[in-house]
């Protein structure tokens, strides 16, 4: 059942449009991430759900009730901020119990709930401390407990891990997901870190310049990017210019060499962009039926993998990764090699409309 819906949501600041035509339906208990570069409108959208910004047009509903014009303190939506936003004048226990005190719940009930949440976030003995006495990771866990204390209908997290160092980020990420599953709470998570979005979410909303580029489960976003933006923003991707030789048979040409695309198209002669993941390409002829002759331009040793960049024809470049194998010698720069990849790995990006159609088709198939 759809629990959180945003319909035709738009936000303008003066003449600039921060968010346009945003439509999303999230199920109860679903974990949705908004992924995109800074300034793409993801935080503005989150703030509209929280009630800190008013949409210029459009509606937001939670559990069938329109909350578009409700003030933030009457929405029952929990929020976790990048800067933690713990109240410096209150102890950890008072911070967690703040929302319950505002709701005038009995003191012993508040204490019980605070103790439960402190145990949940593995900080059972820190209730009497002040926020400044704790590390960043601990503070953010307390902010999460504080947001959960009021049993919100929706939980919003605005880049909650950005201010933390890498190891804590990964650990806390897992903790957030496990707590979210435990509570079964509908969650919207804003991040610019694709790894975070892909590893945490049930669905990812990729945004750019105020628009939704693509909505889908992480594997779909990664494997079938709908637009050139998604393709370039999520993961590393090779984008190569090609020409359609024959649409129905999906034959394409890269320079003077011919390959076959993943899906048939229409027409012939038009310029298209094809996207190939580095991990789909192999050196030699074992990678698939698509083969291209190329010149090695650069070889980078990255520890467990070796990344090679080759040039195809005049200017098209292609990078691919191989597992580091001490028994194999690396390619020499300037050497002519053959690279191969499967037909299915050859994604044609023609633009928004047809890419959306391709995704719908993929969903229907899969």
């Amino acid at each position: 059942m759809t629990f959180l819906t945003l319909t035709g949501v738009q936000k303008r600041f003066g003449t600039s449009v921060a968010v346009q035509d945003f439509n999303l339906s999230a199920e109860k208990g679903e974990f949705v991430s908004f992924l995109g570069p800074s300034g793409c409108g993801k935080t503005t959208t989150l703030r509209m759900i929280a009630g800190f910004e008013q949409p210029t047009t459009g509606t937001i509903t939670v559990d069938g009730i329109d909350i578009t014009h409700r003030p933030p303190n009457r929405r029952n939506i929990g929020m976790v901020f990048q800067s933690y936003a713990l109240f410096p004048n209150m102890t950890v226990a008072d911070n967690i119990g703040f929302g319950l005190r505002v709701r005038k719940q009995p003191k012993d009930q508040i204490r019980k709930r605070v103790d439960e949440l402190l145990a949940l976030i593995n900080l059972p003995d820190k209730g009497g401390r002040y926020p400044y006495q704790l590390s960043g990771g601990q503070q953010q866990r307390i902010a999460l407990a504080r947001a959960l204390a009021i049993e919100p209908q929706v939980l919003l997290l605005d880049e909650p891990l950005s201010a933390l160092d890498a190891k804590i980020r990964v650990a806390l990420r897992k903790e957030i997901r496990s707590i979210q599953r435990q509570f079964g709470i509908t969650t919207v998570y804003v991040t610019h870190d694709q790894e975070e979005a892909l590893s945490l979410s049930d669905r990812v909303v990729v945004m750019s310049e105020g628009r939704i580029e693509q909505i889908g489960p992480p594997p779909e976003i990664y494997n079938f990017p709908a637009t050139p933006f998604v393709a370039s923003f999520v993961g590393t991707l090779n984008l190569i210019q090609a020409t359609v030789v024959d649409g129905p048979t999906a034959r394409l040409s890269v320079g003077d060499q011919e390959i076959v695309g993943a899906r048939p198209g229409t027409g012939s002669g038009q310029r298209v962009t094809i996207a190939i993941r580095p991990e789909a390409v192999e050196l030699g002829e074992t990678g698939g039926t698509n083969r291209l002759r190329a010149t090695v331009e650069d070889v980078s040793f990255l520890g467990s993998i070796v990344r090679t960049r080759v040039r195809i024809g005049e200017k098209e470049q292609l990078s691919f990764d191989q597992f580091n194998d001490p028994s194999l010698s690396a390619s020499a720069i300037g050497e002519t090699v053959t690279v191969s990849f499967a037909r299915e790995a050859t994604l044609v990006l023609e633009g928004r409309a047809s890419a959306d159609a391709a995704i719908e088709e993929a969903i229907a198939e899969g």
């Binding site: 009630g51 800190f52 410096p88 400044y132």
Partner: protein
């Protein structure tokens, strides 16, 4: 080279490091001169502050017997009366000013940052407009007309507090604004709103407590100004401490010096209190501000 020495194969490097670490004589001399200048500045500052005090003290001691000027002042019922009146007016001023300034500064910082320069300009006006102009303006506006406040004692007290609230603007606004800068106002506001708090709860439970130190510094400055203020209190014919000192100065020789030193001592006690209360919460506020 005669083979590896105690530093293995890199004796040259070690020598170089040693050479860098060893301060050169001219550097040491320069550092010494710097210290001397620092002490000289400190000494000049010290003399600038304390010589007038010592002079005042020694003048007050010319009375016979030596501490009689202090005894006269403390025995005078007007001294305690006017001082109490001024302190009371000061406290009321601080409360009124806080109620006016904190929500204003908070709202400007949160919602109307573009208005900040204008508000700052308005709060600086008391430095530009002399108190005499202010009090004449108040008297002309409120002696008659729809709100004739200047005619009664209570009305005059209201006018006095109102004038002092205006005088407190530069100190209170600046202190509060600095305090707001140290905390993440927007996030704290939004966090408390998302937890269900309305504006009143937000102000009382989150904003005011986090501005405690700033409010205290603004409050003590305001108190110091109100207690010593002369012009407005005189023109509104209020029994305040400022006019009392002036009256004493016109009629007595040594007592005004004693009163000055006593009020100076009281101000220092107030400052000490500020430092004491501030120390308890400063660390909290500073660390919170750093995030």
């Amino acid at each position: 080279m005669t083979g590896p020495g105690p530093f293995g194969r890199f004796p040259d490097a070690v020598e170089q490091v040693a050479a860098v670490r060893e301060p050169k004589p001219p550097q040491r001399a320069r550092r010494g001169a710097g210290k001397l200048v620092w002490w000289a500045v400190f000494l000049i500052g010290f003399l600038y502050f304390f010589v007038p005090l010592l002079g005042t003290f020694s003048f007050s001691m010319r009375a016979d017997p030596p501490f009689s000027a202090y005894a006269v002042v403390i025995d005078d019922p007007q001294f305690a009366g006017t001082l109490f009146y001024s302190f009371l007016i000061g406290v009321i001023t601080i409360i009124a000013s806080t109620i006016l300034i904190v929500p204003t500064a908070f709202w400007v910082r949160l919602k109307l940052p573009r208005l900040r320069p204008y508000i700052e300009f308005i709060t600086l006006l008391p430095f530009v407009i002399p108190p005499i102009i202010l009090v004449f303006g108040l008297l002309r506006s409120y002696s008659e007309g729809p709100i004739p406040l200047a005619g009664s004692d209570f009305g005059s007290n209201v006018l006095l507090v109102a004038a002092y609230v205006v005088l407190s603007f530069p100190y209170m606004y600046r202190a509060v604004d600095t305090g707001l800068r140290a905390i993440d106002v927007r996030s704290l506001t939004e966090a408390s709103q998302s937890l269900g708090a309305g504006w009143f709860t937000l102000m009382v439970r989150v904003i005011f407590p986090n501005l405690r130190v700033s409010l205290l510094s603004g409050a003590f400055l305001t108190l110091a100004i109100v207690v010593g203020e002369y012009t407005i209190a005189t023109f509104l014919a209020r029994p305040a401490f400022g006019p009392y000192i002036s009256l004493l100065g016109g009629n007595r020789a040594y007592e005004p010096a004693a009163v000055s030193l006593i009020s100076f001592g009281l101000t220092w006690i107030a400052m000490g209190l500020l430092a004491l209360i501030g120390r308890q919460s400063r660390q909290k506020i500073q660390i919170a501000g750093a995030h």
